[in-house]
Amino acid sequence: MPRTSRFEGRLLIAPLTAFLIALLGFPLVLDIIYSISRVGFEDIRAPEPIGFSNYAKAMADPEFWAAAWFSLRFGLIVSVIQVVAGLALAVFLAPLFAKRPWLIALLMLPMMVAPALVGLMYRLILHEFVGAVPYYLLEWYGDFPAFLGRDWAFTTLVTVETLQWTPFALLILHSSYAAISPDVREAAALDGARGRRLFLNIDLPLMMPAIGITFFIRFIDSFRVFDNLYTLVGPGAGGSTTSMSIYIYQAFFKVGDIGLAVAASMLLLVASFVVLWVINGLTARKAPL
């Protein structure tokens, strides 16, 4: 590579690099400094180093572990449901989409709505007097649960998240299903494979990489859930719906414990790196797409 083009290359990535240093690198350094300091809003410019006691405080806080457990459980459950539902819809509805591709637009619409607004919408829809869901449940079954109460909040949130993001799984898995060459299916059909066997032995293995990617993207997104949770229940339901993101937000804005909030952030960062490391390891071993 000639010297000038290497120089030009560096010049072209310089603005983006500078931007990332300012808005990611610098905050990360602040995160690290504040996480090992005693610091309040008054002495924000003069953090006093105190070692790892903020980390110890976070690790000793049962609410921290409750939030971590909530995020993990929530992320795993919604991603599994979304992938299964998305896969089922993608395969079953494929003939419709093949003839009329625009139909999929109607199923993509939920993704266009802000999750925060979806949370607000459910406050209306699930409201005991003016909500449509309690109205119809009462009409049909004569009863409805306290959707946002302690017993039901988790199920409600799983449903809300699943209904909004199953379309993502549907979209990715549909394009992966549609990309399977007809030749492959014809060859398999000649060998006598059809129906369920064709799907299990031919389609499913070919779609496996897409299924894996969809699962990981959905897991990562729902693990850090904040918006719809915050607007729908906030810290409600007796704290049983506090995700990691909500925990950090509250430690900072409600409690004002900067050190704790930042230490929890760093622990979350480490956890994300572990997840990424696992994902990269798994995808590296798999065949390329």
Binding site: I13, L24, P27, L106, P115, I258
Partner: protein, 277 residues
């Protein structure tokens, strides 16, 4: 014999999926078109006397909660955020694809950034903004929206530029065009499709962003994703559900319409972003 039956079942499943998945928007739209009195007596999905009163009421309370102000904030911040993300990512993606600059660290960094919960950086960014006076400004919010969008835009550009034929650029070089000139007059025009598709997606993501809007703004720059909840408390006591519903529809309409018009580009970008990342 069985074929038409299965086909009918497919349509049934499709229609059920459309209604269930879009239920929040449908039910909210229905509520927004009922009168305040009807909302309290009729919670069903059928409207007895459709009215636009709630929408009129939303605009009538502009002195306390100005929906146009929130919508404008979202529009301005999202536009700046998306354009800036493209302006930063486009040359960088070109440098990666053609010169290999930063391909070994910048691209993986950006890709992995999508997997990192951004709340990790939210607190130091809040403290930084406090010091430099960017709190509650549209530009401050736009910078964050740009940060949110950069990974996806970079991945999309990097893969699409790598697919462009090299010959045209080489011909340009022979004619004496420099890199900047090539970028503006040759590579950019050939990439218009990707630029359009990724800017629509970036705009929608920006419009829908909530966490940083909540943390970094108080009023002057509050985006509509955050401002919408203000209307829930607008009447002091109980929620005026009709007004709240109308606000939510107004806040949702822009990305919804974009999504309907550009579903093809959005779908392609989402798929490419997922697979290439």
């Amino acid at each position: 014999m069985r074929k038409p039956l299965v086909n009918a079942l497919r349509w049934l499943v499709f229609i059920a999926a459309v209604v269930i998945l879009n239920f929040p928007v449908i039910a909210t739209l229905v509520t927004s078109l009922k009168s305040e009195a009807e909302i309290m007596t009729n919670a069903s999905l059928f409207i007895e006397a459709p009215t636009l009163d709630n929408y009129a009421a939303v605009f009538a309370m502009a002195d306390r909660f100005d929906i146009l102000h929130f919508l404008t904030n979202s529009l301005v911040a999202s536009l700046i955020g998306s354009v800036l993300a493209i302006a930063l990512a486009f040359p960088a993606a070109y440098a990666m694809a053609r010169f290999g600059a930063g391909r070994s660290w910048l691209l993986p960094l950006a890709v992995n950034l999508r997997a990192v919960p951004l709340i990790i950086f939210a607190i130091p960014i809040y403290l930084m903004y406090q010091q430099v006076g960017l709190l509650d400004t549209r530009f401050g919010l736009a910078l964050i929206l740009c940060l949110v969008n950069v990974p996806l835009v970079l991945v999309l550009f990097a893969s699409s530029i790598a697919d462009l034929p090299l010959e045209i650029e080489e011909a340009g070089r022979v004619d004496g065009a420099g890199t900047l000139r090539l970028l503006v007059y040759v590579v950019a025009p050939m990439s218009l499709n990707v630029v359009a598709a990724s800017s629509v997606l970036a705009f929608i993501y920006s419009w829908n962003e909530f966490l940083f809007g909540l943390m970094l703004t108080t009023n002057s720059a509050t985006p509509v994703s955050v401002g919408a909840s203000f209307f829930f408390a607008a009447s002091g006591g109980g929620v005026r559900w009709g007004v709240a519903a109308a606000v939510m529809i107004l806040a949702t309409l822009p990305p919804l319409i974009l999504g309907l018009l550009m579903y093809r580009q959005i779908g392609r970008s989402m798929t490419a972003g997922a697979v290439k990342g």
